[in-house]
């Protein structure tokens, strides 16, 4: 146990330095493009996004000046103004795209350009304000964090997370040992997740969320975390998942990962699509401005 803690404290120290320098999710994109039916004219569309607009409400976004003291609230009522705490954010403004079986599509853009929102809309988790998303089967977002509870043991969280992703009890039993083994948290599985170091928590979350296979897979931000050894394993796992999935969407800030992984890149800027095409072209344009 002491060893593990020591190891993990090193992990946390080295994490920021390593990131962005040497993360290779996919060492060589060429062999896979050969396998993909992408260039074949018969490639069937799996995801169609038709002039999509997403508007969502944000609460508690008031500035300090207008924040909830009673006098302000009363004047607002008298002046018949709406609540300033609620703001509508027009996150995606008219995006259209067609994704085909075998596509691995990277999405780049600045913070707040609507990348995650677009993924959630494709997954069918956010309702469109206008336009529509059509999919073949149920796309799923890789990640199970929201379903887990910090106060519970790793054991219980594995079961809970698997059920949340829609597994059957038989599947959960089948995957349980694999998840524990892959996460490498050993006897910590008996302890509440709140006692885990951040690296261990990330490893367990990754192990759970990557235990399921998907037709259309949406990956939000690079999931490979933890120490060097675990990162290597998780990159390998991501590659497997990606290969077994029909279509992959990947959001990452690490352009190198996108360039190596994807056969097509979409550049979102302030909720609109600025470019859609070959990774090299789009990324060099994105880097220029």
């Amino acid at each position: 146990m002491a060893e593990l803690t020591k190891e993990l404290s090193q992990v946390k120290g080295e994490e920021p330095a390593v990131r962005g320098k040497d993360v290779r999710v996919h060492p060589n994109p060429e062999p896979t493009t050969g396998k993909r039916p992408l260039d074949a004219p018969t490639g069937t569309p799996t995801v169609i996004v038709d002039d999509l607009h997403i508007v969502y409400r944000v609460y508690g976004a008031a500035t300090d000046a207008e924040k909830g003291n009673a006098v302000n609230a009363l004047t607002r009522l008298l002046k018949r103004q709406g609540r300033p705490q609620m703001k509508e954010v027009h996150a995606v403004k008219g995006v259209s795209l067609v994704a085909y079986h075998g596509d691995a599509i990277g999405i780049v853009g600045r913070n707040g350009s609507g990348k995650s929102t677009l993924l959630r809309a494709i997954a069918g988790l956010l309702p469109p304000h206008a336009g529509a998303v059509y999919t073949d089967g149920q796309p799923s977002l890789l990640g199970v964090n929201a379903a887990l509870m910090r106060e519970l043991t790793g054991e219980r969280n594995i079961v809970l997370g698997c059920y949340a992703m829609g597994m059957t009890p038989a599947e959960v039993r089948e995957k349980y040992d694999e998840i524990v083994e892959f996460s490498g948290i050993d006897e910590f599985v008996q302890l509440p997740m709140s006692t885990y170091s951040s690296g261990m928590g990330a490893r367990l979350r990754f192990a759970i969320s990557s235990a399921k296979t998907h037709d259309v897979l949406l990956i939000d931000e690079a999931l490979a975390t933890g120490d060097r050894e675990f990162r290597k394993r998780s990159e390998q796992r991501i590659r497997q998942i990606r290969e077994s999935a029909g279509t992959v969407f990947l959001v990452a800030h690490d352009l190198k990962v996108i360039e190596e992984t994807c056969n097509r890149v979409i550049w979102l800027h302030k909720g609109k699509m600025r470019m859609d095409g070959d990774p090299k072209e789009v990324i060099s344009a994105y880097n220029k401005g």
Binding site: Y59, L125, D136, L152
Partner: protein, 311 residues
């Protein structure tokens, strides 16, 4: 250029130049809207397929609720016991109870425990969607799983409070009898009502943020109107000389109906005229509310299924 881009360009131009629009393309390949609301029977089946998630989620919430306290799960028994002690001190001893009610402690505690179950479910249900937006925006499942899980969580708590209640009722001198076998049936009906009420309030709470602030007042009014501390018949008809139909209408309130039936079962002197059986108005009201609330609740909640992620 590879094919996807040209297809997008084609389709984008489609609306203007007469080529195939994206919606048509989707139709041709049999793609479906990713956020389409399933038909109602399909929705119920999906919900059934998620039963393990619902149960595990409810149990997990119950476990994590007390996990940081020293006494842990013991609080599941201690909380209803302490509540019982406070209600009894307050209404039984300080306010002097009620002269017309022979076994006041049993009367009060039955009312309180039964009412608390509904009240807590409704309060929890109001937050079940608005408090879980991150979960709703991350994973796919029928959203009714959440209010359902919250109801089951309260049901698990109730099972323990019921045990405490039965012990106390026996200590106050009531004798166990065959009618006790009806208790699960009454609780089943109350649970059906609670699920329905939880679903309705969950949908309302998802869009009306202020509901959480308002709910305590609503449930408190409901508490006073349900005759938890007093007998509706005594206060309304005998003391206030109002016509009998006013009392009857008050008994039709679902919380009052379930409380009355439970009192009929547990307290021999509660309604000597009918023995341990409930009068027709009570059991008709209980059955009606269970069936109506459950079916309306699922239907009403399902109608907004695709919109819960917006917040």
């Amino acid at each position: 250029m590879s094919q996807p881009e040209s297809a997008v360009a084609d389709a984008q131009a489609g609306g203007r130049s007469g080529q195939e629009p994206l919606a048509k393309l989707a139709e041709r390949y049999g793609l479906r809207r990713s956020i389409a609301r399933p038909r109602f029977p399909v929705y119920l089946r999906q919900l059934w397929e998620r039963r393990h998630f619902i149960l595990t989620y409810a149990t997990s919430r119950n476990v994590s609720k007390y996990s940081s306290s020293a006494l842990g799960q013991l609080w599941q028994v201690l909380t209803p016991l302490l509540n019982a002690a406070i209600y009894f001190l307050m209404f039984g001893l300080i306010l002097g109870g009620s002269k017309n009610i022979t076994n006041y402690p049993a009367f009060l505690l039955t009312g309180m425990f039964v009412f608390t179950y509904t009240q807590r479910t409704v309060t929890a249900g109001a937050k079940s969607i608005s408090g879980n937006l991150s979960l709703i925006r991350a994973l796919h499942f029928p959203r009714a799983s959440l209010p359902l899980a919250y109801t089951i969580q309260e049901l698990q708590q109730l099972a323990i409070s019921m045990g405490v209640l039965l012990v106390i009722v026996v200590l106050t001198g009531e004798l166990p009898n065959w009618f006790w076998l009806m208790i699960p049936l009454v609780l089943l009906m109350q649970t059906m009502f609670n699920i329905g009420a939880g679903l309705v309030i969950a949908r309302m709470g998802a869009s009306m943020r202020d509901l959480n602030q308002l709910l305590p007042f609503i449930t408190r009014t409901w508490l006073y109107a349900s005759g938890v501390f007093f007998s509706i018949q005594d206060k309304v008809v005998e003391a206030a000389h109002m016509p009998q139909w006013v009392a009857d209408i008050m008994y039709l309130n679902p919380a009052a109906s379930y409380i009355e039936w439970m009192r009929d079962i547990l307290i021999a002197s509660h309604n000597p005229e009918w023995g341990h059986n409930p009068p027709p108005i009570i059991w008709i009201s209980c059955v009606f509310w269970a069936v109506f609330a459950l079916s309306f609740g699922f239907w009403y909640f399902w109608r907004a299924e695709e919109r819960y992620g917006r917040g």
